[in-house]
């Protein structure tokens, strides 16, 4: 899309958003051809560091769990029970509320063959969706962007990471996602120094012809400036009334919610928070992080409901691995393998525990064995939720989990 065209549209849209009541906005975008319909939105929350799954979703009837974790196990009476076997860490009280409303699906034992216990490598595997013995240089959401990039419809901000820097997950072969911590900050960056003026300059034609990287750099710059402008123009008029907790995740989910209501043409949002590498004195730290997580997600869900978006947004939370069943000598846990994962939203078959609890008697060198490949989850998000060709992104067929509501 040309910059000028972008500007016209966004300027018009801004006026529109201010004058037209929000129930008319759908009409406006449909009949004035201002936006492609956004359809479904996916929000990913990455818990970096390897969240301890067994103390997040607690197998409170399992003797092995209590035997292996004498000082950090969570007592059965404290657990927020989901069924006869497992329940949430009490710090997830806000999430339990969502579960009771049928909005949360817990998937147990998610992992991949030949697990790697290094943070970097395992995160690499999750972000690129590769086998553990292969190295890919593009991320799964980057390939999603590539696969959905046709003609003039190649826009970086179809996938936004709410951060200062872009993760591998959002880097494609032909197209990268857009990183922004907040729309205004990115906009200001593109207006400062030489950026604004340079993004309007075309490099010399003869240089471009022999040097494809020159045009690549200028194209990236122009697209960034365009996207930043469009997003800023649209987002500056939408301010949520919902109160979010003042945590980092709270702030970032608030930004996502405002972008969703602003009608920006974005289908995927990515957020990562860290601190989950709990080798030492785990309980206090993990509970603090889980509470922040649950409260931020609860505020986000409430906000979506208020805006009538609850059925159009699905939030997925994962971590690069779970942790060893047996605790260590420092009241913490060391790197493990398979882990649980949450899917949250109104578009799911009303919430439940999707599959069996982890089997603590059948371990692989002290670690859980996976039963659901994480790429089955990705396939579900791509094919059943975003309605795109999952094989083009994942390279081969993975069965989807039957969790998305068909209505």
């Amino acid at each position: 899309m040309h910059r000028r065209k972008f500007f016209k549209q966004s300027a018009f849209a801004t006026v529109g958003t201010m004058l037209i009541p929000s129930f008319l906005k759908a009409y406006e975008s449909k009949h004035l051809g201002l936006n492609q319909p956004v359809g479904k939105t996916l929000v990913i929350v990455q818990l970096s560091g390897g969240n301890d799954g067994l103390n997040t979703v607690v197998p409170f009837r399992n003797d092995i769990y209590y035997r292996e974790r004498p000082t950090i196990a969570i007592a059965p009476e404290k657990v927020l029970k989901l069924n006869d076997e497992i329940g949430f860490n009490p710090a997830l009280e806000a999430l339990k509320g969502l579960y009771d409303d049928g909005l949360v699906t817990v998937v147990n034992n998610v992992g991949y063959p030949n697990p790697d216990r290094s943070h970097f490598r395992s995160m690499d595997i999750w972000q690129t969706a590769s086998d553990s013995d292969k190295y890919l240089t593009t991320g799964w959401l980057g390939r999603y962007l590539d696969a959905n990039c046709q003609g003039n419809d190649c826009i970086a901000h179809r996938a936004i990471e709410v951060d200062d820097t872009l993760s591998l997950a959002l880097k494609g072969q032909d197209l990268n996602g857009l990183a922004l911590l907040d729309p205004k900050k990115l906009y200001n960056q593109t207006r400062s120094g030489l950026v604004a003026e340079l993004s309007n300059i075309k490099p010399a034609a003869e240089v471009v012809a022999s040097h494809p990287n020159v045009s690549y750099l200028y194209k990236t710059l122009a697209e960034t400036a365009s996207s930043a402008e469009v997003i800023y123009d649209k987002s500056k008029v939408t301010h949520t009334k919902t109160v979010y907790p003042a945590s980092e995740l709270g702030n970032r989910l608030k930004t996502v919610s405002e972008l969703i209501t602003s009608g920006v043409n974005t289908n995927v949002y990515y957020i990562s928070i860290s601190g989950f590498d709990t080798h030492i004195n785990q309980p206090g730290q993990q509970e603090r992080l889980l509470r922040q997580y649950a409260e931020a997600v609860a505020a986000f869900t409430k906000d979506l409901k208020t805006n009538g978006k609850l059925n159009d947004v699905l939030l997925m939370t994962f971590s690069e691995f779970g942790r060893r069943v047996k605790q260590n000598a420092s009241n913490g846990t060391d790197h493990g393998t398979a882990n649980n994962l949450f899917l949250i939203g109104g578009g799911l078959i009303p919430g439940r525990v999707f599959n069996e609890a982890p089997n603590l008697t059948n371990l692989d060198e002290g670690d859980l064995k996976y039963t659901v490949d994480f790429r089955n989850i990705y396939a579900t998000l791509l094919r059943d939720w975003l309605k795109v060709d999952d094989q083009a992104v994942l390279g081969r067929q993975f069965e989807t989990l039957k969790v998305v509501s068909q209505s």
Partner: protein, 478 residues
């Protein structure tokens, strides 16, 4: 002019750029002489040392703690010191690159670091030994380098060969040595990997950080690798790998991407050249210096499409900027912060496959940060970007934020000496010729000229224009 451009190209590809003074000297010499000077200047090798050889690693420290020689606080401090020493080594290496001393050696060590990518966060002694190994042998014989890296404790540890035992083989090292260090994909079978892994059983290291062959855990049985059968040990597999021509082709292709162009079309002249270069590399018994000399003295190396065709890696960008202007940071953090924000932290490669490089370095945020960097470095601008936390508690200190992060001394007087002639427009053209691989387009030129005050002293004009030129997308290329 073309001569000057060619030499700048050479200095960027074979090192981290040249200072105006270096270029002036090179102006007086034929290209061949400049090439041979590069080798002469890299003949000496000085190890980078941050710890002595008896620095205990994390495991030893924990043992001492168990034996009561250290209390818990001391243990924590010593483990932290270990990690900080790895960070210090990183900074020392970047400073070495920026110094311009032994530029070709350091550039090739950077290549081998990406090729033999390895990380270890708890044992600075191993990391130091590995770093100096790839630096020392950077221009030597590839076969010797392969053998030495394969036997280095850092790599053995990284690829789990310490756990590779008879009856319980760990295939990690055997797989990567074939896929990433020598043959490349599709040139071996899973069976080759299984059998080679058996041959590598027993390769390990002792607590002193020395290679050991532990005969008692070595699988003495017969193995069949690449159709050859024998009582192979690890050394034999390395030799078999070097006998395969595919190894020469694989390594030469990777080097061609690093030095010449990373856009190699099938059925292109590039492919024919790679095949000739690989022939030479193989016939010479893997003489790296000879291969480099052929590349740097070939006409095709100086084809206009190659000049300014490559995207600088973050470390090349930073070290090159420091070298050009004689920049010395007061603190270590800015050197780590830039690497972290732009996605290339030396001694912390993402995985054993190294950094993907090329266009992978560039996305909206990394490009904006690269364009902001000159302002941060040259004008001590305000830092507003926070690199992502990778989740590992052990690397959190890499992202630590400090006040006056970019406080630096810059050798402006030496730099400015080279730009004393003519008016403002002439100064801009001279600076552009020095900093950029391609001339400015008329619209770029007009834009930059509007940013300088004509009545400002020459020195101020030079500094303003330098900051602007380094902020251009064009400066990201070499």
């Amino acid at each position: 002019m073309k001569e000057r451009v060619n030499k700048q190209h050479l200095f960027w590809r074979a090192g981290f750029g040249a200072t105006p003074a270096q270029l002036r000297e090179a102006d007086r010499q034929p290209l061949r002489k400049v090439v041979s000077q590069l080798f002469t200047n890299s003949r000496a090798f000085t190890p980078l040392l941050v710890v002595s050889d008896d620095q205990p690693d994390k495991k030893e420290l924990k043992n001492r703690f168990k034996e009561g020689q250290l209390n818990r606080e001391m243990l924590k401090d010593r483990i932290r010191e270990n990690r900080e020493a790895i960070r210090d080594l990183n900074v020392l290496w970047v400073e070495q690159m920026a110094s311009g001393r032994g530029a070709l050696r350091e550039k090739m060590a950077l290549f081998w670091h990406g090729h033999f990518a390895c990380r270890n966060q708890n044992n600075v002694r191993m990391v130091q030994q590995y770093t100096n190994l790839i630096r020392e042998q950077a221009l030597g014989n590839f076969g010797d380098l392969l053998m030495a890296v394969s036997k280095s404790p850092a790599m053995l540890q990284f690829l789990n060969n310490q756990q590779n035992r008879k009856n319980a083989p760990n295939e990690n090292f055997a797989r990567e040595v074939m896929e990433l260090f020598t043959l490349g994909r599709a040139n071996y079978t899973e069976h080759d990997i299984k059998e080679a892994a058996r041959a590598f059983t027993g390769w390990g290291f002792n607590p002193q950080g020395e290679f050991v062959f532990r005969r008692n855990v070595h699988d003495e049985g017969e193995k069949t690798v690449f159709g050859k059968t024998g009582n192979f040990q690890g050394d034999d597999i390395i030799k078999l790998l070097l006998e395969r021509k595919e190894t020469a082709t694989f390594v030469t292709t990777k080097l061609y991407r690093f030095l010449v162009t990373d856009e190699i079309a099938t059925d292109s002249a590039d492919q024919q050249r790679i095949s000739q270069l690989a022939d030479q590399f193989y016939r010479s018994g893997y003489d790296t210096a000879g291969l480099l000399e052929t590349i740097f003295t070939s006409d095709w190396f100086y084809e206009p499409k190659h000049i300014g065709g490559r995207i600088k890696s973050p470390v090349e960008l930073l070290a090159g900027m420091q070298h050009s202007l004689g920049i010395h940071f007061e603190q270590k953090q800015p050197i780590l912060y830039v690497q972290r924000t732009l996605g290339q932290v030396l001694l912390y490669p993402p995985n054993v496959a190294g950094w993907p490089g090329g266009r992978n370095w560039i996305d909206s945020s990394s490009l904006l940060f690269r364009m902001k960097l000159p302002d941060l470095v040259l004008k001590a601008g305000e830092v507003t970007i926070k690199p992502k936390d990778d989740g590992d508690v052990n690397t959190a200190l890499l992202a630590r934020k400090v006040n006056r992060l970019f406080a630096a001394s810059i050798d402006w007087p030496t730099f400015e000496k080279a730009f004393q002639k003519g008016n403002g427009e002439h100064v801009l053209d001279e600076l552009a010729l020095y900093f950029l691989p391609q001339p400015l387009s008329p619209s770029q030129r007009t834009l930059l000229l509007t940013k300088v005050k004509k009545e400002a002293p020459r020195s101020e004009q030079i500094r303003t224009l330098t900051t602007l030129l380094l902020s251009l997308p064009d400066y990201q290329l070499c």
